[in-house]
Symmetry: C2
Subunit: 93 residues, 2 copies
């Protein structure tokens, strides 16, 4: 069994042992192809954010709203109540 | 002009000033809908990683390969040479 990278390269052995490089390549191609779709949708999101920004809405505030809507509503309210109490206790409210 | 959140809620004024809550809602709905597509593709990626893992390939190593393929090849090689030199210098190679 090769003990180092150099041994591996010199041995001429399949660095994947008994596994197939083409299978690996195919998995990686598929993952990259799906990533291409994701990247396109992300670009779409950016376009919508830019459009909203052009209409006078703040991107950062919108991101916060979207994060809040993802959370369970009761859980979020409980969190918020704690933050409000801490702000008040520290004279920041 | 309302000075605090309480003033704002009591005034009955539109908290967005002259901007339309429906426009804001529509932007947020569109962003969330695109996010739904992204989440589905991410689930597809997870399925492919699981399949690859079932075929004996290591997910972490695959993620590294994908990150490396995203980079400019020469830039990556230059980075790698530096890391190799530092490993050697520190007796870690």
């Amino acid at each position: 069994m090769p003990k180092s990278r150099d041994d591996l390269f010199e041995s001429g052995a399949n660095p994947l042992g008994n596994k197939d490089a083409n299978a690996l390549r195919s998995f990686i191609d598929r993952i990259e192809s799906v990533q291409g779709e994701i990247d396109e949708f992300k670009a779409d999101q950016k376009t919508i954010y830019d459009e909203a920004s052009g209409a006078g809405f703040d991107k950062k505030a919108m991101r916060k709203i979207i994060a809040i809507r993802k959370k369970d509503r009761d859980e979020w309210k409980a969190e918020q109540d704690k933050v409000d109490a801490y702000l008040l206790a520290l004279g920041l409210a």
